[in-house]
């Protein structure tokens, strides 16, 4: 059974009650997708780059140690993969923060526009759709993998401004998707109809009583109208009853009420959103999700970690500022904790109607708009993969940069000339190829995604 009630399902697909028996005899449309393995993708975003020295493992291959930033992921070490040397090579209009988030999942240039960054030319929105939407479209096109929403875009404390810095997912050129960063709004999107039906059910007895009372006090001719309505109300009651039978066992999660969207509530908001995401997977509402914590240039003040400055502000501090680097490490460690919580929830939740846990069928991709905050580099974007959803060979630390490690660190420290693009080191790979790998992981064998110039040699081999 799906966790969408039958009526929701029918309504969402524009089918009327008259088509119901037809649909039920056509399992492929509604329910047969339960037989095949459900693969899922979650893309988690945190901003402002990382501290490379406390983030990247020193070793390559399956024998590696997690450093401080990634230490919360220790329980999932054999189910994770770090990918060093995967770079965002897209250039063009916009500063690095803008291109960092706008090209991250799209792999394509931004349109020229009126949004001026801290440097470079002004830009508009991305000129193509993002990989999460590409995969969503692929899954939604097939009866066997189609779900009620296809994809869900979660956020936490995303800026009120709708601009290039605050949007990561695109349903097409110039079509940014606004992440939902209010858990209550997400709840109502996911479960609103169910709640409405509960409320409706609770008033029907009163309504019947009211109708009966009024019917006894009008003329016989007029009474017919009220009796007709009484019949409709009775039918509605029966439909609702049938619905609730279909929805048995798909409990609506309880949300802690009244958590305001405020900086200091970020930990709670993250937890609420993660819980909602896991629930939506249990109900198979979607197979693709994004989880955008703040936005590019995010200014979270992590007072709960005793850090009172904004994240972006600190991220500009030079490497020599050890205090700042220590804070940045703590900040990224906190993001890793959120990832760990998501992985834990997925790992401990059995796959409904399938084998193993949700994490066995889900790949989480954690990423960032920059490689490193103070240099604004788009090289070595921090890619951390957790989970077994796409059958990649996990438990490895990969390095696609075949230049000697000392030189790598060196290059990062020096910063890069991004306008000319000359800084791209031999041996590093374009992140478009990783985006291709994600699509291929779902069996969607596209050969190009985003700017084709960066897709040479095809998907990265991760299996």
């Amino acid at each position: 059974m799906t966790h969408v009630s039958r009526r929701d399902f029918l309504r969402d697909f524009g089918l009327s009650a008259a088509a119901l028996p037809f649909v039920l005899n056509l399992p492929s449309l509604g329910f047969a997708n339960q037989q095949a393995r459900k693969q899922r993708l979650v893309v988690m975003f945190s901003p402002n780059g990382v501290v490379p020295s406390t983030f990247w493992p020193d070793e390559e291959g399956s024998e590696f140690k997690l450093k401080e930033s990634l230490s919360p992921l220790e329980p999932f070490k054999d189910r994770l993969m770090t990918l060093h040397g995967v770079c965002d090579k897209v250039r063009g209009d916009g500063d690095n923060h803008m291109r960092g988030i706008g090209c991250l999942l799209t792999g394509v240039e931004l349109f020229p526009g009126n949004i001026q960054g801290g440097s470079h030319t002004p830009a508009g929105w991305a000129s193509g759709l993002s990989i999460d939407q590409e995969i969503k479209n692929y899954l939604q096109a097939d009866d066997a993998t189609r779900t009620r929403f296809g994809s869900l875009e979660f956020g936490v404390m995303v800026s009120e401004r709708a601009d290039t810095w605050t949007r990561m997912s695109y349903s097409g050129p110039n079509k940014p998707i606004t992440p939902i960063d209010d858990p209550y709004q997400m709840f109502s999107k996911l479960y609103g109809k169910l709640k409405d039906r509960e409320s409706l059910k609770s008033i029907l007895d009163d309504l019947q009583a009211d109708l009966k009372k009024l019917a006894s006090s009008v003329s016989a001719e007029d009474r017919q109208l009220l009796e007709e309505q009484t019949t409709f109300v009775r039918e509605l009651e029966q439909e609702l009853k049938a619905d609730s039978t279909a929805a048995v066992g798909h409990a609506v999660p309880e949300l802690e009420p009244g958590i305001k969207e405020e900086n200091d509530n970020m930990p709670k908001l993250c937890k609420l959103q993660i819980d909602l995401m896991v629930n939506s997977f249990v109900s198979d509402f979607a197979r693709v999700a994004t989880f955008q914590i703040t936005n590019s240039v995010g200014q979270a003040k992590m007072r709960w970690l005793d850090i009172n400055e904004g994240h972006h502000e600190i991220s500009h501090s030079p490497d020599s500022d050890e205090k700042a680097q220590e804070k940045l490490t703590r900040i990224n460690k906190w993001y890793a904790e959120q990832l760990a919580y998501l992985a834990k929830r997925l790992a401990e939740t059995p796959e409904p109607g399938g084998q193993g846990s949700l994490l066995d069928n889900t790949l989480i991709v954690w990423t960032n708009e920059l490689g490193k905050g103070n240099s604004h580099t788009l090289d070595n974007i921090p890619w951390v993969l957790v989970g077994n959803g796409l059958d990649f060979k996990m438990g490895r630390s990969l390095n696609f940069d075949k230049t000697p490690p000392s030189r790598v660190l060196n290059a990062i420290d020096q910063g890069v000339d991004f306008i000319t693009g000359k800084s791209i080191k031999p041996g590093k790979v374009a992140h478009n190829r990783l985006l291709l790998s994600l699509a291929h992981g779902f069996g969607h064998r596209i050969t190009k995604f985003g700017n084709p110039d960066f897709c040479g040699d095809g998907p990265l081999s991760l299996t």
């Binding site: 500063d95 526009g113 001026q116 929105w125 409706l200 009211d210 003329s219 016989a220 409709f232």
Partner: protein, 797 residues
């Protein structure tokens, strides 16, 4: 009394004679039954065949078998057709005020006003255009404000210049326009912001932009979004525009090359084309956010010419549920604001309950404090039970209230909510018994004051009574006809009333649904969608002038010789008085045309083009419009569907000759003898409504006739003759009175007395055909007639 077979069932007797001789003594002369023998009405659902069989076997009761064969069949047919069958019963039923649900328009308006009553309307003024604040910076900082002015429309191409050279620099500035937009019709509106810069547009909801183009990306310069709006209502509008780079404000950049900038604010009204929002639809008002029900309802039954809402369907019931859920969600998202309380307030629950009680009272058109204990428990208190959070409780109250017949139906009358003592002149509970005619001992009409308030408001503007009406009801000030008329008079200025009257006039002209007037582009190459759109506007401006004028003289609709034209229309239709000319880009203005060529709406090119084919005029469509709408004649549909004779098949004939030829058969003439000679009088107007003197090289013959109901034959030549006759004809006046009555009251006029139409017509004449006065008279008549039928016991089967 039974007289024996031979005498009774003679072959020459009719079914009625047989019935009166044999059956009536027990069944009554009209099948109503007799107390001694058969005290039940003779009604049922058997067919004539079944009745015949039954009568042959069993009737008359004391001598069965004596009325058989052809006699039995004849008497069965008589009984069946005269009073027995369901159709006969319906025919015999007296016309009465029937229990009606809210029409779709009434439902939407009632919900909007119910929610609106908790916020107020905001500040509404009549000043056209939008307030524009101009800033010499990219943002809207107070200290960067350069000047303010009212812009009639937003359609600016600044090029690389400043809006005002003396007050601001050309390379970086911003403008914020604020005010309101009024929706003439109900439906889906597309708002279009056309700009090469950053811009944002809010409509109604000032928190969430409808169009957000703060990021100007790529080459898109047209940004459009849809929103559903209700007719006659004014919605808040804000438009922000910024010529500047957004994002990081880079003051270091010294070099600022000249760059172009432009912005226009346009819309596409339902069934219309995209155009700059005209000044007359913009105002400097500051209305509060309105709630608009967007749920799709099945359309109301208009088969009788007005929205008759005496039946319901499953789809309607589903729509009321869906809409109630939407309203509940909206209220739940703002209930603390409505209730005037906060999350942590100590008296929060009490405040919320108080809000819910007022919500129920207003929805039920009842007095403040008008719910009795039982109703208060049922509709409000019960939902605030232990373990139910208050948001859920409020949702439930809203759902139950909006699903209750007390909200959904009109004419439930005082049965719906008991009134507090002393609120009216008569106790509602015993009113029906003690005052069967709705008249007090002094002969003055009396009614429950809250019923009267509801009838006034729904008839005037299709919504709940306003506060002044409720106050008057509470004070017992809706007792007399004068008091009711005073309120009706007051409400004439209400935009909702004007909107309703506008819709009526469009309905009267049979163009309420915006007909497709596209034309044969080879014959009329200059007649395009823009001209068609302009024509519609021209007609609407004319109607609005009549609606707004104090005299609101009905005859002007038929006789006025001016017409609203803009530059485009003037060029196309020409023939202005004294060869005057308009510049091509001239806005709409009232123009006097060549006299003797046009008369009021009858010859308005929009109607002439509407009642025409794509390539030729249609005297039949025009004749039917005059006969049915203007003169109120009933016409049967044609006996068979007939395709019009194509002009190219008989190129030697004029349209008039072709129509005459095709409708020559006797079977056509019963109606076309009336239709054609009326339509022919408009033959001076071609398929696009242009005046012509010749057709196919032959002079146009625009002579016509009309046989009045009293048998007199009237002759006309051309539109002016016709218009003069119609404007003075009591038939026209009667038809207008009846149609307006039905459109306002939505109950059959005969249910308010057999003389009502004539009385209203007489007062219409006396009041110089003032449409406003007629509305007041109609409202006073309908609101003061006590029509509630006495509760009856079920019909004996």
């Amino acid at each position: 009394m039974f007289l024996g077979v031979s005498t009774v069932c003679g072959a020459d007797r009719t079914g009625e004679q047989i019935y009166q001789q044999v059956c009536a003594s027990c069944h009554g002369a009209k099948g109503e039954g007799t107390i001694e023998s058969y005290p039940h009405p003779l009604v049922g659902e058997r067919s004539i065949g079944e009745l015949t069989e039954y009568i042959s076997k069993s009737m008359p009761e004391d001598k069965p078998g004596t009325c058989v064969g052809e006699d039995a069949r004849k008497v069965s047919q008589f009984i069946h057709d005269t009073f027995y069958s369901p159709t006969a019963q319906a025919r015999n039923k007296p016309v009465r005020v029937e229990l009606s649900r809210l029409t779709v328009r009434q439902y939407r308006n009632a919900v909007a006003d119910l929610i609106g009553s908790f916020r107020g309307a905001g500040r509404i003024d009549d000043k056209e255009g939008l307030r524009g604040e101009y800033f010499k910076a990219r943002g809207f900082r107070g200290n960067a404000r350069a000047f303010e002015r009212v812009d009639p429309v937003v359609a600016f191409d600044f090029k690389d210049k400043s809006p005002d050279d003396e007050k601001m620099e050309p390379h970086e500035f911003s403008i914020r326009w604020e005010g309101a937009v009024t929706a003439p019709d109900t439906g889906e509106y597309e708002f279009v912001v056309r700009t090469d810069q950053a811009a944002r547009l809010w409509i109604n909801d000032l928190k969430q932009p409808l169009v957000d183009n703060w990021v100007q990306s790529g080459k898109d310069t047209e940004h459009r979004e849809s929103i559903f709006l209700l007719a006659g209502r004014t919605y808040a509008l804000r438009l922000e525009f910024s010529k500047a780079k957004q994002g990081v404000d880079d003051k270091k950049v010294k070099e600022k090359p000249p760059a172009p900038a432009s912005i226009s604010l346009e819309w596409k009204r339902p069934h219309r084309i995209t155009e700059v929002i005209p000044a007359r639809c913009l105002s400097t008002s500051r209305p509060n956010e309105a709630f608009v029900v967007t749920t799709r309802f099945p359309p109301d039954d208009r088969s009788v010419g007005w929205e008759k809402a005496t039946s319901i369907s499953k789809e309607w019931d589903q729509a009321t549920t869906d809409a109630a859920i939407d309203v509940a969600a909206f209220v739940a998202s703002r209930f603390e604001e409505f209730a005037g309380t906060k999350r942590d307030a100590a008296d929060r629950d009490e405040k919320l309950k108080g809000f819910c009680r007022r919500f129920v009272e207003r929805a039920f058109r009842s007095a403040t404090g008008g719910l009795d204990d039982e109703q208060r428990a049922m509709f409000v208190d019960r939902h605030f039970a232990e373990g139910v959070d208050s948001e859920t409780a409020v949702r439930r109250v809203v759902l139950l209230t909006l699903k209750s017949p007390r909200f959904l139906y009109r004419e439930l009358g005082s049965l719906s909510v008991p009134r507090p003592l002393g609120s009216g002149p008569v106790e509602s509970a015993n009113r029906v018994e003690s005052l069967p005619n709705g008249r007090g001992t002094d002969g003055v009409l009396v009614s429950d004051p809250y019923d009267v308030a509801s009838r006034i408001s729904f008839a005037m503007y299709d919504s709940l009574p306003d506060q002044a009406l409720l106050d008057a009801a509470a004070k017992g000030e809706l007792k007399t006809r004068e008091q009711v008329a005073q309120h009706a008079q007051r409400l004439l200025a209400d935009p909702r009333t004007r909107s309703k009257l506008r819709e009526f006039l469009l309905t009267w002209l049979k163009v309420e649904h915006v007909p497709d007037v596209s034309k044969d582009s080879e014959r009329y190459p200059e007649f395009n969608a823009t001209i068609a759109n302009d024509l519609r506007t021209s007609l609407e401006l004319f109607l609005e002038e009549i609606i707004k004028s104090d005299t609101s003289d009905f005859r002007q609709l038929l006789l006025a010789d001016g017409i609203y034209l803009n530059g485009r229309l003037a060029k196309f239709y020409g023939a202005m008085k004294d060869d005057a000319e308009l510049p091509a880009d001239a806005p709409f203005q009232k123009i006097d045309l060549e006299p003797d060529q046009r008369a009021g709406v009858l010859s308005h090119p929009y109607l002439m083009a509407g009642f025409a084919y794509t390539g030729s005029s249609s005297p039949i469509h025009r004749g039917i419009f005059i006969a049915r709408s203007v003169l109120g004649r009933s016409l049967r549909p044609p006996p068979e569907a007939v395709a019009p004779l194509a002009p190219q098949l008989r190129p030697d004939l004029t349209t008039r000759e072709r129509v005459a030829l095709q409708t020559k058969p006797e079977s056509c003439q019963s109606c076309h003898a009336m239709i054609n000679p009326l339509g022919f009088t408009l033959e001076h107007f071609d398929a696009v409504g242009r005046f012509r003197k010749e057709e196919n090289g032959k002079p146009v013959n625009a002579s016509g006739t009309y046989r009045r109901r009293n048998g007199e034959l009237v002759k006309f030549d051309g539109v002016n003759d016709l218009a003069k006759f119609l404007a003075d004809s009591p038939e026209t006046h009667s038809a207008f009175v009846e149609q307006l009555f039905h459109f306002l009251v939505k109950q059959p006029i005969r249910a308010f007395g057999s003389n009502t139409r004539e009385t209203l017509r007489a007062s219409f004449v006396k009041e110089n055909f003032n449409i406003h006065r007629l509305m007041v008279e109609i409202i006073a008549t309908a609101a003061m007639t006590t029509t509630e039928p006495k509760p009856q016991t079920a019909v004996v089967p």
